[in-house]
Amino acid sequence: MRRLLNRFLRNQSGVALPVVLGSLTVVTGLAAGTFMVTVEGNHASARDRDSKKALGAAEAGLQMASLKLTELNPGVDKCVTLSPVDPGTSGAAPGECPMTDWQPIGNGARYRYTVATPTSGSCPTVPGFTPSGLDRCITSIGEVNGIRRRLQLRFYFRPPFLPWGHAGLVGKNKVDIGLNKTINSPVGTNGQVLLGNNSQIVGDIKIPDTAAPPQFGQHASATLGVTEVPEWQFPELDWATPKTDHNNAYLDAQLDPPVWDGKYLKLNQQQDITLVGGTYYLCGFDAPNGNTINVPDGQFVRMYILGDRGDSSWCNENDPVDGRFVIKNDGVVNPLPVTDPKAEQFALFVYGTDPDNHDNPPDVDMNNGVAFWGTIWAPNSTIQIKNNQTIKGGFTGGTIDMKNNGGFSYDSDIANQALPGTARAENLSWAECKRDPATATDPESGCS
């Protein structure tokens, strides 16, 4: 046996081939191993790329969800997909908000999101931060080639204040409707509504239970009677912040002193003016006789009457129209297009000097045949309207004082017109979640 082994080992024939094959097998194994590692690295690199794309898609979902929330302004009991929806609908578990369908953003990436109601879902909060009843939890999933990233955002949204959503004529302290008036709008106040002889409100009088009962003159009525509502709110605008984003340069280019001195706009008699769309900040405005203020079709003008507001004001309290908007004697505001003027195109905001003082000249003074299509926000002012006026829009004043004939019509287009600066949106906290919810029926789970 041993001799046979020695003879086999001494025999050199047939050695080269096995040695080469053996060596090649080893080298091939090493090469294959290397190649597999390389391929795995390549896959990992592709997954990393797709993961970054998925993160971008998920972030896009958060952004679009927060936009949708502010666009739709749903009630606090509503979820948001592409429209306001109820919890427990569209395949969501009872009490939970549904997700949107997948929304593509191109190049194979897509997202979907769910916006919880303030009570149906919660997000991680920033330490030391107290959640409010308006916080919404948004959860978004981004996906590319099967790779998913899931993000969550706590988002605060205070909806804009809509002054004319419920009534076209609102007085903080009083609405005094004189004789022979027809008011085609609900009327509201926290104080008292006085309705003169032969005047009619086509609609209801909306007052809180703390308000005084309305007074009706002879043959005066409100077609829908009196409705009890919560107390009317009059949020303050931000008057203190210096104004930089405005269109006063347009007036500088169009008008010379003394008509426009950079603070007060005082038109000559019969002088017409066109205000292009934009925001104007004035100390006072005076259109004494037969003036027309046009706003081009499709454009929107916001006019702020600042007046002397103390130390930081650049207005002059001794000027006779300081803080006032005065238009008299057949003056017309925003009459275009002639067939159907749009009240939403002209918005007047008055800082206000005296909400209830009839001895002083009223801050908003419309006298003798004035036609006005627009909105007025002046809760710290008296709005006085006298003698054969034609008005369509929405007015909010401290006191609204209407005298002698004419009428007022509500424009339903202003129902959703927001008071500037009253809405607020803020990202409060951001977190990345696990790939899938910890509880399948709870889309916000698995994030803490």
């Binding site: 971008g56 972030e59 191109g106 190049n107």
Partner: protein, 176 residues
């Protein structure tokens, strides 16, 4: 009988065996070199893709942080440029950009702003650690009145470069 005896004999076998072994060895070696070369190119490609993804993510995050008033191109929109070949700006048509390579008909208008801070021209990127270089292109397009799409396209220089890498997201501003 003679044939069997000849096979049993050892004369001349070493040379034939050597030739066969050498041939197998050569073929095997060439194949192994091919595998190693492929591995190398795949590795280089992976490394470049990693670096490109890193550059794209960095640029996207930078653009996402721009204030809304600055999230647009500088006054004049970027224009199409056919060179170098495969330049992502060839997807510009007039003032629109084809943001989806899978759907060439999907176009959006490029956003140009007076205070725009998104450059109109591409920029060179280089990674000091890997010594890789390439170019980064940025496009901001209008999804709607309150939403803008940010598309970052990154390319790499040199051989074994992966295709352009597109990273995109959307930034919005609330309706207040």
């Amino acid at each position: 009988m003679r044939f069997i005896e000849r096979l049993r004999g050892e004369r001349g076998m070493t040379l034939i065996e050597l030739l066969v072994a050498a041939t197998i060895c050569a073929v095997g070696t060439i194949a192994t070199i091919g595998v190693i070369d492929t591995s190398r190119s795949v590795s280089v490609k992976s490394e470049k893709r990693d670096a490109m993804a890193h550059q794209a993510e960095r640029e996207l995050e930078r653009l996402m942080e721009l204030p809304w008033a600055n999230l647009g191109h500088v006054v004049v929109r970027p224009t199409a440029n056919p060179t170098p070949a495969g330049n992502p700006s060839t997807y510009i048509a007039g003032d629109s950009y084809k943001y989806d390579r899978n759907n060439p008909s999907a176009t959006e208008q490029l956003v140009a702003l007076v205070d725009g801070q998104v450059p109109n021209t591409s920029a060179e990127w280089d990674d000091a650690q890997t010594r890789l270089t390439g170019r980064v292109y940025r496009y901001v397009t209008r999804v709607g009145a309150n939403a803008r799409r940010i598309t970052v396209v990154v390319t790499a220089n040199g051989e074994h470069s992966p295709p352009e890498l597109l990273l995109s997201s959307i930034k919005t501003t609330p309706v207040l």
